[in-house]
Amino acid sequence: MNFLARLVSILLALRTVFRARPRQPEDEDDAAQNGADAEYDPSEREVPNNPSAERLVALLLIVAAVFGFGFLAVYIILQTNAQWLGGTMGGMLVALAVACIIAGKKVVPQETHVESRDRLLKEEEAEQVVEMIEEGGQGVSRRGLLAGAGGVAGAAFVAAAAAPVASLGPRLGGIHKTQWHRGVRLVDDQGRPYLASDIEIGSMYTALPEHGEPEHLDAGLLVVKLPPDKIHLPSPRQSWAPQGILAYSKICPHAACAISLYRYPTFQPTSGPPAFTCPCHYSTFLPGEGGRLVFGPAGRSLPQLPLMVDSAGYLRAAGGFHEDIGPSWWNVHRGES
């Protein structure tokens, strides 16, 4: 209650601060501002006699023509050479520009002219417009009814006109589905399946679902291997990293860029733990701790995919993602942590 009272008093104080000052007259006349130089007339007209400037302009026009024909020649002979094409076309235009500006300043009459401004608001005419509009409604008795019916019709028109916007895209139905489920093999971007023995500590691998659709946002995975002492997964995920191999969605949960930076510490005592960093807004996640965010704007952890190694030694998904991958939206499945 005390808080509410204080809030109200702050709002009242703000209102006092921002209260509109009283209107000053809107009259368009400015007699008061004209001051001492009200009589001063700056009009002047100077007719030039400047043959050297005229010769210079003619010369520049010829230079422009030379550049223009040069462009034609370059276009016919060199065709795709942007430097020569741009140089000649630009040269022509710049020569034309200088010619026009010199002509405007030195060759033609120089004039300073005073024009008066229209008074925009003419009281009588404004009043006449109001009256003419109102006269159009003379003799109409059921104004309220007509305005109400018009409003309903207008709303119906807007709704009917706007409805086809829904054709632009599908409903959100499959938004939680991904291509990853138990048994899907991890392959590289050439379609070769990954063996668990391919994954080395200190490197980062991009994996895609076998026979999947690589152009979908959910396809890309980051795969890394960490020594056991660097893996501190939450307890429900203890079995997700066979042989210390971990897989995460490659798509940053902040703004859907593919994560492409992997920091692996070389000097133990001073470096931080192994981390993924997104190159777009530098959200940084720890693969050893279930994708926990340690820096940057991402609002949630990097989704982890449980892995298993099959009898032939290939890496396979041991299940689907437990939370939504990609950028967050209203009511996204965030996962537990």
Binding site: V94, G104, E115, L120, H254, A256, C280, P297
Partner: protein, 489 residues
């Protein structure tokens, strides 16, 4: 009059009469030819925007004749050997072909890209000029709102343009745009699905939609808004700075015909010429180096075109806060930097004329511009606001600072999260102080060097001499304003 001139005179008379007999526009033509443009260098900024828009239309038509918005995956066999055999979208291949196979294609693509950068830059500088000189006041507030709408559209239009290429860089940009759309509370996911035609990277109708927006809808709206903007300018006449004979109710300057028309056409040629020189000689967005986009790929050190920089700065600066109730996300993080921040900036700009009227009670019509120093509070507020947006813009390049200068990225972000709030406050008080002291001194730092210098006179004595050009004391009289401490007898 020579025979040639007499003939030209006859031809002209014949042409004007021919036109009058059909159109009867002499009154209008006379008015247009006598239309007065007040002179000030800063009035060129809007013209530069208009002329770069013309260059954009011209080069854009050429590019549209070759661009193909297909998303089907094809194998590249073109002349650029490093990408041969690479799988890519049809759209990306068509832009590679524009760059390597179409005659003058690369020139037009690079001129188009440079012109887009210049277009937005000149609009922003024009806006800054308008705000600092109070040109947005009645009756030009309407003109100002139309201009703000054009700026918003220009930013969107530029983003749509470089996103059409479907190279790695533009694909990452679209992924971020998709995430920003998703982050809108309640409706975001459905909104993104409607725009993209399904989950990212979208259905095969997405690139055609983007092309439709880029080459028809946005340019058409911008062209209509330019027409309204210029019609309003003509109806009210240009504003002007105060000066001899210049009053609220008149406009003093150069008539359109002939001097101003020649100078303005000269500016058009200059803008186009510089764009063609730069577009021909200086590489921009070498898309063949980025490679094709696939959602599972990204590139390090990616930077957008400059006018998106303020948004990437805001996205990078934002702490990882999301508004959630229990385990339910209500507002995902990209909303703050990607939606709320630009909405706030444009909201402030849209409110500015109304807020000033309300706070000062000044509802009069103004046709004379203010010198920034004469409105210290407005100038200081605008400078503070500008510095806030500009700092966030520069934070977008913090990774380049780390890369070049080895200053910790994490440390920079922690620093800027506080500094972007502190520095604008300092800028406010500094600007207000500078304005007030300039008002008191009446000096013109931009017009001429001025101040007090130490001079040794013929008698060997050191004196402090005021050499400001527009003081009451002309500099040549060299009247001493004081002596050097320690030199006094």
């Amino acid at each position: 009059m020579s025979r040639l001139e007499r003939k030209a005179d006859q031809k002209l008379r014949h042409f004007v009469r021919w036109n009058e007999q059909r159109v009867g526009a002499a009154t209008g033509i006379k008015m247009a030819m006598r239309y007065v443009f007040p002179d000030h260098w800063s009035f060129m900024l809007g013209e530069i925007a208009l002329y770069s828009f013309m260059v954009l239309i011209g080069t854009g038509i050429f590019l549209a004749a070759f661009y193909s918005p297909g998303d089907s995956q094809v194998i590249y066999h073109g002349p650029y050997t490093l990408l041969r055999g690479e799988q890519m979208s049809e759209a990306y291949r068509s832009v590679l072909d524009i760059s390597f196979s179409v005659s003058a294609g690369l020139l037009f693509r690079q001129v188009h890209h440079w012109a887009a950068n210049l277009f937005v830059a000149s609009i922003v500088l024009h806006l800054i000029r308008i705000v600092f000189t109070g040109a947005y006041r009645k009756p030009r507030d309407l003109t100002y709102y139309v201009g703000l709408l054009m700026l918003m559209l220009a930013v969107l239009e530029g983003f749509a343009g470089y996103s059409l290429v479907d190279d790695l860089l533009s694909g990452m940009g679209l992924a971020i745009a998709y995430s920003v759309a998703m982050s809108v509370p309640f409706i975001g996911a459905q909104l993104a699905y409607l725009i993209w035609g399904g989950p990212f990277p979208g259905s095969s109708s997405f690139l055609p939609r983007l092309e439709l927006f880029h080459i028809l809808i946005a340019p058409m709206i911008i062209a209509i808004l330019i027409t309204v903007h210029l019609a309003l300018v003509m109806r009210q006449h240009h504003s002007q700075f105060p000066g001899p004979g210049r009053r609220e109710r008149n406009v003093v300057g150069t008539p359109m015909w002939p001097a101003y028309a020649l100078r303005s056409i000269g500016l058009l040629f200059a803008v186009a010429g510089i764009l063609f020189l730069v577009g021909g000689l200086i590489q921009i967005n070498p898309i063949w180096e980025w490679g094709p986009y696939h959602p599972y790929l990204s590139e390090n050190g990616a930077q957008p075109d400059w006018y998106i920089g303020w948004l990437i700065g805001a996205l990078r600066l934002m702490p990882n806060y999301e508004f959630a109730i229990g385990n339910h996300t209500i507002i995902p993080n990209p909303f703050w930097g990607g939606v709320l921040f630009p909405m706030f900036v444009f909201g402030v700009l849209f409110m500015w004329p109304w807020a000033e009227r309300r706070l000062t009670g000044d509802h009069r019509r103004h046709d004379l511009l203010d010198r920034p120093r004469d409105r210290p509070v407005r100038t200081a507020l605008a400078a503070a606001f500008l510095s806030w947006v500009a700092l966030i813009f520069f934070v977008g390049a913090s990774d380049r600072v780390f890369y070049r200068l080895q200053i910790s990225y994490v440390g920079q972000i922690h620093f800027w999260r506080i500094a972007i709030w502190v520095i604008p406050v300092i800028v406010f008080f500094l600007t207000r102080g500078v304005c007030r002291s300039l008002q008191r001194s009446g000096s013109h730092p931009l017009r001429a060097w001025q101040g007090v210098v130490l001079q040794r006179g013929a008698d060997g004595e050191l004196r402090l001499v005021d050499v400001s050009p527009d003081r009451d004391t002309p500099p040549d009289t060299e009247e001493p304003v004081g002596t050097v401490p320690g030199q006094e007898a």
